[in-house]
Structure formats: C-alpha cells, structure tokens
C-alpha cells in the first residue's frame, strides 16, 4: 500500500538575514553573517556581547482583527505570525479562513517553541518588583505562554483544525514539523502549517547560558565556529520559519508550486547528560529518519547540522554522522548555518529546513562560516567551508534538545517532480547550476 506523501507548498521565514525566504537564502548562500554586537539591550556585563538579531522594523504584524492583542504579545508570537502569513500567502492556499471546515481539510497548526516569552517573563518580574503585583499587566500571561504563537496563528489566519505547541528545547520545531508530517501521512489532516519560532535575546537568557559556559567569547567575525577545533561556544540568534505542508496529491490537483517533499522523520530520547547530546542516540535518530523516508544512507547528500560551536556537542554529532551515514556507504556533506544566524533554539530545525529547501532548489550548499579545521577524530568528513554547487537529492536535518530530545527530518526533491510545478528543480544537475 503506498502511503500518503507530504510536500512543502509555502515557506515563510523571519531571520537575522532578512524577513523573506529570498533574503534568507541569499544571505546563507552568500556567506553573510548576521552575528554582531548585541543591540537589543546593554550587554556590557556579559561575557558574550554578540547576537544575531532580527531587524524588528521588518516584522510588522500588529494589525487585523487581533491587532490590539498582537501588539501585546512577546516577540516569538510576532515572528510566528509574520512567518505564518508569508507561508500561507506563498502557498496560495485556498479556503482560508476555514469558516467551519472540519478536519482533515480544516488544516492544523504545529509549532515548536523552546522557551516562549522569556523576555516578557523577565520584564514582568522586574515590573512586579518595582511597582507591585497590582500593576502587573493583564496581558502578561497570554503574551508569554508558549501556546500563544500557534493560537494566534490559527486565530489570525482562520485555521480551524487543531493547533499544537511542541516544546522540546532545540528540537521543538523539528518535532512540530515531524508530527505534522505524520498527521498528514495518517490522513488526520490534509494540510498543516508547521514550523518553529524563538526570540529570547534578553538578559536572563544570557545569564543562564553564560552560567553554563555555553556562549562564545571570541570576537565578532570569527564566531560561532561550528565543528572547528577552536570552537568555544554558541552565539544566540532568533527567528521563525513556518511551512505549508500538504498531502502530495492535493497539492498537485490544485496546481501548487512544490518546494520539496518532507520524506522522513524520527525522534528518540537519549543523551549523555541533561544538556549534552549523545553520539549513540543521535546516530539512532538519524538512521531512523532515513529509514522513515524509505531511503538509504547513499541517498542523503547533505546534513544540515545542529552544530553551533559548542565544545562538547559538535563532535558528538559529527561522530553520529559518520556512524549513521558514512559507515553505511553515504558521503553526505555537512553544513551548519549557525555562523550566519546563531543558534535559534526551537526554530533551528525549521530554519534548517528552509535552508535545505533553498539548497535543493538551487543545487547549492551554503558554507559553514568560521569553520577551518575539523577535530582529528572526524577529519575524513566533508564540511562545506565555501558555498559550492552540489548534486542534492535529499537532505537530513538534525537537532538535539536539552533533556535528550533528538529529532531528525529528511527532505528532498519529490520523486515524481515535474518541472513546471516545482521550485527550481530544473537546475537539478550540478553542471547546470550556476551561482545563485
């Protein structure tokens, strides 16, 4: 029995490289880093004074029926709304607002949120201590609860199927996409809006990560250094990426343009410590995702890695790539976008999916910025250091969240892609694909 396939028919991104998918891809492929001196707050007292910040003037969503409420929401909700509206507009999805459609056609929202409204929580506490609990803002709780991103997306766009919020730290968005994939595959839904959002550039987040010695203290322009021998920590980023996922046949029948197929997903629990990824469990997860896609290691051409320059985690992931893919005959290149946009926590999987879809469409891999030398244990692996053309059929996206949340996705060119309905796939062969 052939199973239902799921394709991406709309993309919306909010990133430190720009707030359109085109700007994002151009920044990635062009090797542009958005990491720079932190501007959102005065960071003088922190050891890391760098961040990859979204230009907030580019995110104007406080309009429509819920404009008053949206204005009071924390940034992660704004980012999700901007990305959701862009994805839906991009997809030309018919039938919104649903006006009473029942599942499966009412659609659904699956959103990954790692930390939710941490900035509002911090400000709320400070405000309470300064002015007393009586002056606490009535919108404080709604503005920061993680579910509000998915909730506002559903209300704003009129999506009347279920909405879910998944919170598994840095695997949140990957799990949201994977669960949406499985919901459509199973027939419960015919389409969904799925992805992740995160915005925690706030002092308490920096305190917390500084206490864990997780933040880089190197100079701007040289960090973060994914996979590199001299890596010393991550840089905080922010953003959102949401996608319209549709059952393949439905997308074909309505003439939707297809960015790629979401082919496989796996999520497993396991870690070497509560905040430390594990080679064995990452390998297990990657292998299961490739199997779920019905592919072999040889059919995976690139890994969009979670590596963010963390001293202990990056190496474990590289070893897992070797065991799950290279030791099984695959030779995928590995790349990390964290030198471009920093670490985006719950949005990192979705932002990597957007990067992978850009790579598939352009048959080109973005570079791992600031990477120079691989650790000796994994020297044979292929890390992309400069943007390069590549024959890309399928990409694997890997994330790890605190608490042992491993999640991986496989996306690729639809096996029966048609040139007139598929973004950029006419440039399928490396020989044909010029610079972006």
């Amino acid at each position: 029995v052939s199973r239902r396939r799921v394709v991406v028919t709309g993309v919306g991104t909010v990133t430190p490289l720009g707030c359109s998918f085109e700007q994002y891809w151009d920044g990635l492929a062009g090797g542009r880093s958005a990491v720079g001196p932190l501007r959102r707050f005065d960071a003088d007292r922190f050891t890391c004074r760098l961040a990859a910040e979204v230009t907030l003037d580019d995110v104007e969503v406080a309009n429509g029926r819920y404009g008053h409420e949206i204005r009071r929401m924390d940034l992660f909700v704004h980012f999700a709304l901007a990305a959701a509206r862009a994805a839906v507009a991009d997809s030309n999805l018919p039938g919104l607002p649903s006006n009473g459609h029942r599942p499966p056609d009412a659609g659904g929202v699956f959103l990954g949120v790692g930390m939710g409204g941490l900035p509002h929580m911090e400000n709320g506490v400070l405000h309470q201590e300064a002015r007393g609990p009586r002056k606490t803002h009535p919108y404080l709780i709604p503005s920061l609860i993680p579910t509000m991103a998915a909730g506002m997306v559903g209300l704003d766009l009129g999506i009347e199927g279920p909405h879910y919020t998944l919170s598994s730290a840095c695997s949140s968005g990957t799990q949201a996409l994977g669960e949406a994939l499985w919901a459509i595959r199973s027939g419960r839904l015919s389409w969904a809006l799925a992805g992740g959002t995160e915005a925690v550039i706030t002092p308490i987040a920096f305190s917390g990560f500084q206490a864990m010695r997780a933040l880089s203290t190197l100079e701007a322009g040289s960090t973060p250094r994914p996979f590199d021998r001299r890596r010393d920590g991550m840089v905080v980023g922010e953003g959102a990426a949401l996608f319209v996922l549709e059952e393949h046949q439905r997308a074909i029948e309505r003439g939707a343009e297809i960015y790629g197929e979401l082919k496989g997903y796996a999520t497993v629990s396991g870690a070497d410590g509560i905040v430390l990824g594990s080679t064995a469990h990452t390998e297990r997860c990657m292998t299961a995702a490739v199997e779920d896609a019905g592919l072999t290691a040889q059919e995976i051409d690139a890994v969009f890695s979670r590596a963010g320059g963390l001293v202990h985690c990056d190496l474990r992931e590289l070893e897992a790539i070797r065991r799950s893919l290279w030791d099984r005959g695959g030779r995928p290149a590995a790349t990390s976008i964290e030198g471009h946009i920093g670490h985006t926590f719950g949005a990192s999987g979705p932002l990597n999916l957007a990067a992978a879809l850009g790579a598939l469409a352009h048959q080109r891999l973005p570079p791992t910025l600031h990477h120079e030398d691989l650790p000796p244990e994994v020297e044979e692996l292929d890390v992309v250091t400069t943007a390069r053309p590549a024959r890309l059929r399928n990409c694997l996206i890997d994330t790890f969240g605190f608490g042992g949340a491993n999640a991986a996705l496989v996306c690729g060119i639809p096996s029966a892609a048609t040139h007139d309905s598929t973004h950029g796939f006419e440039n399928h062969h490396p020989a044909d694909s010029g610079p972006c």
Partner: protein
Amino acid sequence: MNRGAPTRPPVKTLERTSKGDGRVSEASLFDRVVKHMGEYLEMDVSHLDPNARIATAIPGIDSMKIFEMVLYLEDCFEVEFEEKVMEKIDTLSELVSYIDSKLAAKAVEAQ
C-alpha cells in the same frame, strides 16, 4: 515595530478650578478621560457621551482591555482605583465622577 501597550503620556498638572477643593471641572475631566481612553484604545472615542456604558459602547472592548485601560488611566491621573468600586462602575459618567473623587482625596492628602 509597534509593540506593547501605549506609553503613558507625561502627567500634566491638572488645572484647578475655582472650586478650591482640588477638583477639575467635570466637563474638563470628562474630556481628559475620553482623550486618555482614546490613546489607550488607539481609536477615536470622542463620540462617547457621559451615559455611555463602558463595557458595551466601545467597539471591540472586552474585560481584558478594561483591566488594562484601568491601569493606564491610573498612571495618567496618578491615582489608584479600588477594585470593589471599579467592579460597580458602569457608565463613563460614573468613571469620571470616581476619578474626580480620587483626585480630590489626593489633593486633600497633599495639603
């Protein structure tokens, strides 16, 4: 990017009337209350009359907006409203009278 609740404007010294009791004139205070409500709601509410019911006369108003608007008005007039009194206030005229009484009490305290 326009985010958050409107910022409270700088509090201006209220013009005192010839009553000598620290109160502003009812008409002047009514206009000020309506003006601040409009600032908070970011809409023109100058059509409201004293008998307008707060919970129903303003399009789109709900309990959350009323709670937030009360905080805003407190900051504008530098007074604190009592919860039990506010629960009973229905019309704009009642609200204005209540603010007037709080201002008068504040003026007495200042003396």
